[in-house]
């Protein structure tokens, strides 16, 4: 695994805002983040401006970094709640407060292997930087991107430009194959002779992608999305059960130990629970009686 880099806090100027299908994209001047960026990193963005009632940062994968203005960072997002709807209202020349780059990036193969990059909805955004890095190492890159409908498949065009093959799926059949990326995955793995799978998207999708990859016995790296409050390892909000090298399940933080994990190590079925055999689980031998009221 790659070692984490030191994140920095940057108050950057919004350079451009644009709509990409159902998504919004913001490009922010943030040299300190851009120079440290590696594929898989995310940023944590303060929302709401001065005197806002919204305290927690919002996490977004970095879609792109560019050298302009000393270094810019772009992220792509969908409007979900009040924070993202505030972000959607930002205009060029507004300032934005980012912390990043955060998280462990995607590990890159040493050899020029064949890589299948699987993305669901805005999860695809993080895959293009990865594709770049892989291609620089002479890896073959194929894409499998999906979404609920045509406008929710992110990056189809760019994938078509970069990938040897690009397969698209939509649940309503409005673009590409009807169904999910998981449905299409076995066929694509076979067709592309993938040696390794990288995936980013909703948990359900990552579970499915992992299951298929395991069946094909090829390594799979997933970038998970867990609700976060800080993004840099201090609040313990973003934990999920992951099996360590020693076979022990621990509740690890998606923001610093992740967001990228080896798929088969993530106990997807137990996400949102404390598995009884996790280290320090209630009832486990030696578990402390202490319980904080909150």
């Amino acid at each position: 695994m790659e070692t984490p880099v030191t994140p920095v806090q940057v108050t950057g100027t919004v350079l451009t805002t644009r709509r990409v299908e159902a998504y919004h994209a913001l490009t922010v001047v943030a040299p300190g983040i851009a120079e440290r960026f590696r594929p898989g990193h995310f940023v944590a963005v303060a929302v709401g401006g001065p005197q806002t009632s919204m305290l927690t940062r919002r996490a977004f994968s970095v879609h792109d970094v560019k050298p302009d203005y000393g270094g810019t960072v772009e992220f792509v997002f969908t409007v979900r709640g009040p924070g993202t709807s505030w972000l959607a209202g930002r205009r060029a020349r507004d300032t934005l407060d980012l912390v990043g780059p955060l998280g462990r990036p995607f590990p890159l193969p040493r050899d020029p292997v064949s890589c299948l990059l699987v993305g669901g909805e805005y999860g695809s955004a993080t895959l293009f930087g990865l594709a770049d890095a892989l291609q620089q190492r002479d890896c073959r890159v194929d894409f499998l991107l999906g979404g609920a409908s045509e406008d929710r498949v992110f990056g189809a065009l760019r994938a078509r430009r970069m990938g040897v093959t690009t397969t698209l799926t939509t649940e309503d059949g409005s673009l590409g194959l009807r169904g999910t990326v998981t449905d299409a995955l076995p066929g694509v793995i076979t067709d592309t002779r993938a040696d390794v799978v990288y995936a980013c998207g909703p948990m359900d999708m990552l579970r499915g992608v992992t299951a298929v990859s395991v069946e094909f016995d090829i390594p799979v790296q997933v970038a998970v999305e867990e609700a976060m409050a800080c993004g840099f390892g201090m609040c313990m909000t973003c934990v999920l059960p992951v099996i360590g090298d020693d076979g022990v399940t621990r509740m690890v933080r998606a923001c610093v130990e992740g967001p990228v994990f080896r798929g088969e190590r993530v106990r997807f079925d137990d996400v949102g629970t404390i598995p009884f055999d996790a280290l320090g689980a209630p009832g486990a031998p030696g578990h402390s009686g202490a319980r904080h009221v909150s």
Binding site: S53, L55, V239, L240, G280, S288, G289
Partner: protein
Amino acid sequence: MSVDMRTYLAHVELINPITTAAGCASSGKELAQFFDLNRIGALATHSITMAPRAGRPTPRVAETPSGMLNAIGLQGPGIEAFLERDLPWLSQRSVRTIVSIAGGTVNEYGTLARRLADAPGVTAVEVNLACPNIEDRGRVFARDGAASAEVISSVRALMRYDVPVVAKLSPDVADIVAIARACVDGGADALSMINTPLGMSIDTETLRPSLAAVTGGLSGPAVRPLAVRCVWQVHAALPGVPIIGVGGVLTGRDAFELVLAGACAVGVGTALFHDPYACLRVLRELEELLQARGFQRLADAVGLAHRPPGSVSRHRTDPAPGQGASNMEESPL
């Protein structure tokens, strides 16, 4: 001219009043990525328990207006791993460390204190009383003066005499002064307040509680008025007892508010999640505010809002009372 920012927790001097709030800076390593931890008064650890704990299921946090609810459930590696790994890491770097401890019985708190007693690098022990007492049908220690006092005196008896014991109090009680008094009578050298009051939110999409644990602790600026009130009331009643004011501090102004209410140190919690540099920023802003108002020493501002209007001299030069001046309420001026 710069302001003398030193403060005291009982006899222990801190270079400045800013600490992290327990549980909001994890083991310290994460925060150390952003700045040198020696620059703040002290780092408070998350609450250490006897055994390793996996904590509560997710979702563990919900944002609320100007605050957040958390139900982390004291996830941590347990005291042994803490003593082997985290504490040495901090003490090698000479980070002043307030070790927070949490237990389910009086005994457990005592055992934790005994384990800490000969560990190097413990600047103070903070006793997180917001835990259910499993010997009293899960009644939270912090809501019961007698139980709190029992815990504190057990910890005080077993901890090294030169390490101050700080009692961390919760605001959701009918009479915070009574609890504070019980803790001080039980041997607390200092008080820390407030821990998070119990709150809850419901997701109106799923129609279910937002947190897996149903209820959680409310923190952030939303609770600052409760923290200021608790610090004020306790400082008025027990002017000689050092108080670490905690609750909703985002800026130097907020820290100043707690200081004026009677806190001689200030913990920064939720703000760290928003701004990893919050401690340093709050420290700088507090110092600037003090300077702009003509204070030469932080100690002179502690509890100052208790003085009758008009009696506030902004340019004190007289020496302040010995113990961190947290008993200025009584001084004549």
